[in-house]
């Protein structure tokens, strides 16, 4: 017979030492602290942009390498997916929502794949190029109508060729 689940009450030690009514940060963040925290994130933006650019360059080199048989397809898809995840995670955090959207498309495109056809590789390269453009033009947030249309087109391509 299956053992009955035991419910263990919440541990109170951390709450007891950290939560009080006089010192610290309100449970609902005050707007001025939100602004300060966002400034902290904003300060790291340049470093993240450099990092994303490096990761895109790594992906481009990997695309070249796999097409010239210097890297196996399995290695390529694993590496490119890992880099796509990092790009997706970083973009929106520092205000480049479009980068996260395209990074997400790249990650979904590679999910559970161990090889890409020539057409699939072209689609993937398009997505990489699109992020380069976003960075070069410093298109923050969700971009304008044109940028949204580009993302939508990429999304259609990903669905069609995945």
């Amino acid at each position: 017979m299956a053992r009955k689940a035991q419910i263990i009450p919440p541990r109170s030690d951390l709450k007891r030492k950290a939560v009080n009514q006089t010192k610290g940060v309100d449970l609902t963040l005050p707007p001025q602290l939100v602004a300060k925290l966002e400034a902290v994130v904003h300060r790291s933006r340049d470093k993240f942009v450099v990092d994303i650019t490096k990761r895109l360059t790594t992906i481009r080199q990997a695309c070249d390498s796999v097409e010239q048989n210097g890297m196996t397809m399995a290695e390529f898809t694993r590496e490119a997916r890992a880099e796509s995840l990092e790009i997706k995670g970083a973009g929106g955090t520092i205000g480049y929502q479009l980068i996260s959207e395209i990074g997400h498309l790249m990650e979904v495109f590679l999910r559970e794949k161990t090889a890409l056809s020539a057409v699939q590789m072209q689609v993937f390269r398009l997505a990489v190029d699109a992020i380069f453009v976003v960075l070069a033009q410093r298109i923050t947030d969700d971009g304008a109508t044109l940028e949204q249309q580009v993302v939508e087109s990429l999304s259609v391509a990903v669905r069609k060729y995945r």
């Binding site: 053992r3 035991q6 419910i7 790291s44 995670g89 970083a90």
Partner: protein, 163 residues
């Protein structure tokens, strides 16, 4: 009077192989008033910190090495050598595949936050584990925070008795 969190009393461990991501979380925690933050690039180093220092909250990526996030959380919740089976674990990751999210939850993670993240989302996760800790469930196939978030009123025929 409103409740506050004194972050100077809370010690954090950040597990992330990406130094920039770890640094950003560090900066946010420092701005909140945290004084002790340890950063581990690998799960092995994380375990060393957990065994040698007084860590209150873990913020970890899913894409960790040598163990991935599921294996790491499972080791902490169920391993016989776990330094603290009930330590709050916040997973902060770009990997939001539904299967991964479900597996991480079933391994016993306390909060799952996706990247890209904003400061308010991260803060809500911190408030949840520090100020609103959940009960733990010790069952045959699960040890971890109670996965039921909301107590929906139900008086139907199959209502379970007890608490």
């Amino acid at each position: 009077m409103a409740e506050k969190i004194d972050f100077s009393t809370v010690n954090f461990l950040v597990v992330d192989k990406n130094p920039l991501s770890a640094e950003l979380v560090w900066d946010i925690l420092v701005m909140l008033g945290t004084q002790i933050i340890r950063i581990a690039r690998t799960t092995d180093r994380a375990l060393q910190f957990l065994r040698s220092e007084d860590i209150d909250v873990i913020i970890t990526e899913y894409l960790t090495e040598p163990e991935n996030g599921i294996e790491f959380v499972d080791r902490l919740r169920n391993g016989i050598d776990s330094p603290d089976r009930q330590i709050p674990i916040i997973m902060l990751t770009a990997n939001s595949e539904p299967a991964i999210v479900a597996a991480v939850r079933d391994a016993g993670v306390s909060e799952f936050l996706t990247k890209p993240f904003n400061v308010e989302g991260l803060y809500r996760g911190l408030v949840s584990v520090i100020a609103r800790p959940r009960s733990y469930v010790n069952a045959e196939d699960y040890f971890g925070p109670d996965r039921r978030r909301r107590q929906a009123p139900y008086d139907g025929p199959d209502r379970r008795s007890g608490s």
